[in-house]
């Protein structure tokens, strides 16, 4: 059973998997274009008290403000070596 949480609640040093994006349409599209899609693995590198954080996703680092991080639904992911690309249902 997976408890859903937002990236805003994520801890530095942990890996999560994106479950869904719930921000404005324009920002959602932008995040998707940057490769933050359903199922993408996201690694929280550091976070500030106000919720701004740095994540690593698809090999690049992004700084995200609280507004965006609290609109990204995530779930914990077990670190199992090489599978950075989790299976997804076909479109």
């Amino acid at each position: 059973m997976v408890i859903s949480m937002t990236l805003f609640e994520g801890n530095a040093g942990e890996q999560y998997q994106i479950k869904g994006l719930f921000v404005e349409e324009a920002i959602t599209r932008r995040l998707e274009a940057l490769g933050l899609n359903d199922g993408t693995v996201i690694h929280v590198l550091t976070r500030k008290k106000n919720g701004a954080l740095i994540v690593k996703v698809r090999g690049t680092r992004l700084a995200l403000g609280k507004h965006i991080s609290s609109g990204i639904e995530i779930s914990h992911v077990k670190v199992d070596g090489n599978s950075n690309v989790p299976d997804r249902e076909a479109m």
């Binding site: 599209r29 550091t46 976070r47 500030k48 740095i54 090999g59 680092r61 479109m91």
Partner: protein, 665 residues
């Protein structure tokens, strides 16, 4: 058939090395930096290869062909232009996964695409390997050329590919969507071809229509709702990344996650608590170097200038030149222009420091570090980047606001950016702090920078309160890998800035010095011996009552401030011309100005000097900046409102500073 004129556009993600590559090929010297928003306009250059003349266009970095910011609009319209024959897609091989998204979009345009794989050395360093045979296969057999923009390798092979791929023409579609979407694309393609038969890239347009792209829909008003019944963008993006996932699986080997240098450095520089203090320390160090090292080098310039000034005067005297001409050359031109040139070492060090900061990859981190503070005043941390650029020059800083997402944020940033002390204000600070605060001139200088920064943030805060804005917390910025600054890049950057400074000294300041000399030496009766009867005095005296409460009630200062609008350095030039000082930036010159100014009515002391510096910090930026603001805001009303506000604000602050300062000094 071989066409000899080929138009090539360089397209790629921000920070992938487009401009460095462009510079390497065309031999131009464009500014490069390691953070998004550096190239905000397309720039053209030329090269020739195998008898073909190539017209190259460098574009602002983009992540996708959807338009969110002005830069992205610039790039998209350039890429879509039918004149462009070949697209060179520069890809950062060290973040291939994200970079390929744009590649897949470019391929859908149906134009010839050549992939330039940059930063392969980082890939190697990380113990990764890219299969250079499989990658092109999976991208529809487009040429894939490994290059190093910094080390300038692979350039000929790239140009070869451009010339020959141009002849081969476009490749086939490689990416197929789900049947439902493909059917819709096919239908929309037919509609596109029927309604816009001359349009190229019908497939791309069809996909964009399915993605509900605003611009494409506006430009092609068709009844499409029966086909594009909802927005398919999410599915289309996800399909592209699914394809990228499969490319990565087949092409990238030895995926290992070792602690990278960048992460190590980031532990300090982007530390949740230490981030801001570290940033402030770095900036303090930059300005410390600017003032101390710059001042140490100043002596050389002083000697040279003194020599030029006296020998010119003697030479002119020996030719029996008319007095007025000697006065014009020695007291007008040499004093006005020469005084400014002695600040060259300070300016060079300031820009050297900024270049290193920009090229290392730290700038984007500053956006993250300052996001908390900027968020409270309703701006994103990204808005802080133009502000830092403002320490160099306001003009490019205003241009850099293009990287901001909304027009509202852009204008707000344009209002506060001029409060960041540009390098032209540096001579004013140095001169007056050394003349009136000889014990600790450095502290006074640095205080100007800090006051400017605090005022900028406070004004943003007040604006935010007035518009009842919320705090802004939608920062979204990529943080590039740290890298050792490239010597060539730094050299180009600093030299370009110094050249600008020298050009300004030779044009604006030169002309301003002549005009000031004329205004101060001529009056209603022709040439005057007493400057108090000159035209300049007549104009300046009009403003004396206004400036008096700020401790600036001298016609000479009024003249200096008015002429400073042409370029802020001219304030210093005017003082030099006013008091006939050959080199305002030397001990003798300063002494002469101090003696002169203090003997005047109503006296001029430390409080007056500080008030003058505050006024120069806050009043309207130079004409070039104002023109840029007008152009970038596309509103005369906005520009005029800003001018009025800044003049009033500078006056109020200077009055407050002087009236308070009078009590203490």
């Amino acid at each position: 058939m071989q066409k000899t004129d080929i138009k090539v556009a360089f397209v790629g993600n921000p920070n992938c090395g487009k401009t460095t590559l462009f510079n390497a090929i065309t031999g131009s010297r464009l500014k490069v930096a390691n953070w998004p928003g550096v190239t905000v306009e397309k720039i053209e250059g030329a090269a020739s290869y195998e008898g073909c003349s190539l017209h190259l266009v460098d574009t602002p970095g983009i992540y996708s062909l959807s338009c969110y910011t002005i830069e992205e609009k610039v790039t998209r319209s350039c890429v879509m232009d039918d004149d462009i024959d070949v697209l060179v897609n520069i890809v950062d091989a060290s973040s291939l996964e994200r970079n390929l998204y744009l590649t897949l979009q470019l391929l859908e345009l149906g134009k010839p695409v050549v992939l330039a794989l940059n930063m392969m050395d980082i890939v190697k360093e990380r113990g990764l390997e890219i299969d250079l045979h499989r990658l092109p296969e999976m991208l529809g057999n487009i040429p894939v050329v490994p290059v190093s923009a910094a080390k300038r390798t692979g350039l000929d092979i790239l140009l070869h590919a451009v010339v020959h791929h141009y002849e081969e023409g476009p490749q086939n579609d490689i990416l197929h969507y789900a049947d439902e979407i493909e059917n819709k694309i096919a239908k929309l393609e037919v509609m596109m071809q029927a309604n816009y038969p001359t349009h190229s890239s019908p497939r791309w347009h069809a996909i964009k229509l399915l993605e509900y792209d605003e611009d494409v829909r506006m430009e092609h008003p068709m009844q499409i709702l029966n086909v594009a019944d909802h927005n398919y963008e999410k599915q289309i993006i996800q399909r592209k990344y699914k394809y990228i996932d499969s490319i990565m699986e087949e092409v990238l080997f030895h995926k290992e996650e070792k602690e990278q240098m960048t992460d190590q450095i980031d532990k300090v520089l982007t530390h949740p608590v230490l981030g801001v203090p570290v940033f402030l320390l770095i900036m303090a160090f930059v300005f410390f170097m600017t003032f101390t090292v710059g001042d140490a080098l100043k002596g050389v310039f002083e000697i040279a200038l003194g020599f030029i000034s006296t020998s010119t005067e003697q030479a002119l005297l020996s030719f029996g030149t008319a007095d007025w001409l000697i006065s014009l050359v020695v007291n007008g031109i040499i004093a006005g222009v020469g005084g400014i040139l002695t600040f060259l070492p300070n300016i060079a060090i300031l820009f050297l420091a900024l270049a290193v900061l920009e090229d290392s990859g730290y700038m984007a981190r500053v956006a993250y570090v300052m996001d908390g503070i900027m968020g409270k005043v309703g701006l994103s941390g990204k808005a802080f980047l133009p502000m830092i650029l403002g320490f160099g020059c306001t003009v490019p800083a205003i241009m850099a606001t293009r990287a901001l997402e909304t027009e509202h944020d852009r204008r707000k940033t344009m209002v506060i950016t001029p409060f960041m002390s540009c390098s032209a204000r540096l001579p004013i600070y140095v001169l007056f702090s050394e003349m009136f605060f000889p014990e600790n001139p450095f502290v006074i200088c640095i205080s100007m920078y800090i006051i400017g920064l605090i005022i900028a943030i406070l004004i943003a805060l007040v604006m935010n309160k007035l518009e009842k804005g919320k705090s802004n917390d939608s920062l979204l910025i990529e943080l590039p890998e740290y890298k050792r600054p490239n010597a060539r890049t730094i050299r180009i950057y600093v030299w370009t800035k110094l050249k600008d400074y020298l050009t300004k000294a030779g044009t604006t300041i030169f002309i301003a010095s002549i005009i000031i000399w004329f205004l101060l030496n001529y009056g209603m009766q022709g040439m005057v011996t007493d400057a108090g009867e000159s035209f300049g005095a007549m104009i300046g005296k009009l403003l004396v009552p206004v400036l008096a409460p700020a401790g600036l009630g001298m016609w000479q200062i009024a003249v200096a401030l008015i002429s400073g609008i042409s370029a802020k350095e001219v304030v210093v030039s005017s003082f030099a011309v006013l008091f006939g000082v050959a080199n305002a930036n030397s001990a003798d010159g300063m002494q002469m100005i101090v003696t002169n100014i203090q003997s005047m009515n109503p006296g001029f002391g430390a409080a007056n000097a500080f008030s003058l510096m505050i006024f120069c910090l806050l009043y309207i930026p130079c004409v070039a900046s104002l023109v840029t603001i007008d152009k970038e805001s596309k509103s005369h009303k906005f520009t005029i409102k800003m001018i009025v506000f800044q003049l009033l604000f500078a006056w109020v602050m200077a009055v407050m500073v002087y009236q308070t300062g009078k009590i203490f000094f």
